[in-house]
């Protein structure tokens, strides 16, 4: 069935909508991405961009009354969206496993850490409790928990944050998944522990050959370990490329904003971090045209009417393709980015690029006309 070209996971035109009292929330609004075997995809976006919903939907965890899901999520030739719950359950925690953000709330507070991993093992393998426990101790050792034979009987509150996240990863690895989805795996951790967890994931990917989808708001996290990056905004992917290509030549103004809001050690010292003005848009009633235009410093009047498509950028073909959903001309974008890199403010960059002043640079995102 699966040819060499067939990726491990392929998401096609995924839509996820939630029925709420205030209206229909379009949490994911038509996204496509692929993850190859042993590859890492980083999905980056701010809170409410739909990145977590997309990840949860892969495992069928958003299935509920009042949720409408369409598109395809093909995992090794099977469309997960059309699988019945019973069959999906055999894949969950087995072939595809998930690591969650806040390990204190994601682990059951009333059960021992070991027991929770044993449960994960026994959910998919027909082994005795003793065998499952031996496997659990082995897993805890694998993720770097010291003295796993003793710590296996601890409760989650007796673990430190970093250890809990390691335990979470051990649980996800229990059945040697082919795909690991990590939702903000380092957000709740100290910077040093963050680096350890990322190094651990990197190591395990190499040892076990899993594909990894890492969902985060932190471009710095994926810059380190992802092969490809997809930037999400308001339920859509606005830019996607190989990590080096995206970092070297970002095309979307939102990606620029993300990059400019990361402190760097190499950059000019007194450089001020530039936050992106405004907040995430409403997903019930998203802005017209380009969803980012109310917050975009370079938006032109017609951007409020035209909805940009995700297109491959002109230039030499790349694998994977560098694609962006932006209405600015490619050469204008390049000029703007080089101006920004030279340390100029968005307004100065605009003038330098020969564009008229933008209509709105800040103010509430809902104030679109």
């Amino acid at each position: 069935m699966s040819s060499i070209a067939e990726p491990l996971l392929r998401v096609e035109d995924l839509h996820v909508e939630f029925q709420t009292e205030d209206g229909v929330v379009k949490a994911v609004d038509g996204i496509d991405y692929e993850v190859g075997k042993g590859r890492t995809l980083g999905i980056v976006g701010e809170s409410g961009s739909g990145k977590t919903v997309a990840a949860l939907t892969t495992l069928g965890l958003t299935r509920a009354q009042g949720t409408r899901i369409s598109g395809r999520i093909v995992f090794e030739g099977r469309d997960l969206l059309s699988l019945p719950e019973v069959e999906l359950r055999r894949i969950r925690g087995n072939e595809i496993a998930m690591v969650f953000q806040d390990s204190l709330s994601a682990l059951h507070p009333l059960y021992r850490v070991g027991a929770q991993i044993v449960e994960a093992v026994r959910a998919h393998q027909d082994v005795s409790k003793a065998q499952a426990k031996a496997r659990t101790i082995e897993l805890l050792g694998l993720v770097g928990i010291p003295d796993p034979g003793r710590r296996v009987d601890d409760y989650p509150h007796e673990f430190s944050g970093g250890m809990r996240q390691r335990a979470m990863i051990a649980m996800a690895l229990a059945n040697e998944p082919k795909l690991l989805i990590a939702d903000e795996p380092t957000t709740a951790l100290d910077v040093t522990v963050q680096a350890q967890i990322l190094a651990l994931l990197e190591r395990l990917r190499g040892e076990l050959g899993m594909g990894i989808v890492i969902v985060t708001h932190d471009l710095g996290v994926v810059a380190e370990m992802a092969d490809e990056i997809a930037v999400m905004y308001a339920g859509r992917i606005v830019e996607t490329a190989a990590t080096e290509a995206l970092l070297a030549g970002p095309e979307h103004p939102y990606t620029w904003g993300l990059l400019r809001s990361i402190p760097t050690l190499e950059g000019p010292r007194v450089e001020q971090l530039a936050p992106i003005p405004g907040g995430p848009p409403s997903l019930i009633d998203p802005p017209s045209g380009c969803h980012f235009h109310p917050r975009c410093a370079y938006a032109q009047p017609e951007h409020a009417r035209i909805d940009p498509e995700l297109r491959t950028i002109p230039g030499p073909p790349a694998q994977p393709a560098h694609r962006v959903a932006c209405l600015l001309e490619a050469d204008v974008r390049r000029r703007l980015w080089s101006e920004l890199q030279a340390g100029r403010e968005p307004a100065q960059a605009l003038t330098a690029a020969g564009l008229p002043r933008a209509q709105a640079t800040d103010g509430p995102p809902e104030s679109h006309a």
Partner: protein
């Protein structure tokens, strides 16, 4: 933990002593009628009454009476003698404890066994017809006082006076040891009446608690492991949702004696409640004190048991 339990037990004993003292003072200060006069009958001469006062120890000063009473209670576990029948209070209570415990334990089993499943199903099927129906019924049952519910139940279902003669009526109680089958059937209606209100509360609390727990991140983790929904709900959801149930169970066991009094009176069951009720109407202080002390003992013990159960159920709770 052991030290904590010992300390709790010592405090419990102190509390019981204070309760005893309070009851003693309360019943002798409040105008409840002169026991000697009540016992002597309508046309008794002052001389007879004076003799009775002497017999019952009522001529001594209040502190002296209290001292004698406490000495008996603490040293001999003797709760005194009825002003009327002169029977020992301990004996009277022991005689009737079986009926009351039968009533309480049976009712508790029924309300837990009905309230919790209804609450769980309601939480999982929120806004379904079943949820609406059971929560509506719960509201009615919570609001209905036991004695009223008891009378209605007798009116509807009692074998003697009921519209549908299904259950044995009032005064049919038989001890468990003398005839288990009659014991069971005679208690069915009282159990249901006593359990109804609590079952309704438990269903509502369980519904609320489980609804909240099912939103927790660790429930999502459990699902992501590929566990069956049944296991997710029972092992992960209900396990956490049970804590508030434990809290109200502790409180309920304590106040249950009060509700049991009403049900015992309505169904004419010879239990502690009935004993207390008759004793109060006759100003039979030793019996009243004995039953109140028993009630206080219930509360203290129930609280200690619940606290220990908390530590057992939730590893994050550690008493020191």
């Amino acid at each position: 933990m052991t030290r904590y339990i010992i300390r709790r037990i010592l405090w419990g004993i102190l509390l019981l002593i204070l309760v005893t003292a309070l009851m003693f003072v309360l019943f002798r200060i409040l105008p409840a009628g002169e026991p000697a006069r009540l016992r002597a009958g309508r046309n008794a001469s002052p001389k007879v009454i004076a003799e009775l006062r002497l017999d019952l120890g009522l001529n001594k000063s209040l502190p002296a009476q209290f001292w004698i009473y406490m000495k008996e209670v603490l040293l001999h576990f003797n709760l005194g003698y009825s002003y009327y029948s002169s029977a020992p209070v301990c004996g009277l209570i022991a005689e009737r404890l079986g009926a009351t415990l039968s009533l309480m334990i049976g009712a508790a089993i029924i309300w837990v066994a009905t309230g919790l499943p209804i609450g769980i199903i309601s939480a999982l099927r929120r806004r379904s017809k079943l949820d609406r129906a059971s929560m509506g019924a719960a509201l009615v049952l919570v609001s209905a006082p036991e004695y009223w519910l008891g009378l209605i139940a007798l009116y509807l279902f009692a074998a003697d006076i009921g519209k549908l003669k299904i259950f044995p009526g009032a005064g049919s109680y038989v001890g468990l040891t003398s005839d288990p089958w009659k014991w069971l059937t005679s208690l069915l209606l009282p159990w249901l009446v006593l359990a109804a209100g609590s079952a309704a509360i438990y269903a509502r609390v369980m519904r609320g608690s489980l609804t909240e727990v099912m939103q927790e991140d660790y429930i999502r983790t459990a699902r992501a492991k590929g566990l069956s929904e049944r296991r997710v709900v029972l092992r992960h959801g209900v396990r956490s949702a049970i804590n508030p149930i434990l809290t109200i169970l502790g409180l309920d066991i304590a106040t249950l004696l009060g509700s049991a009094i009403l049900v015992e009176v309505v169904f004419n069951i010879p239990g502690i409640g009935q004993l207390a009720y008759t004793a109060i109407t006759h100003a039979d202080f030793p019996i009243v004190q004995g039953t109140v002390l028993l009630g206080a003992l219930f509360i203290v013990v129930a609280n200690i048991v619940v606290d220990i159960a908390y530590a057992y159920l939730d590893p994050r709770v550690r008493y020191s």
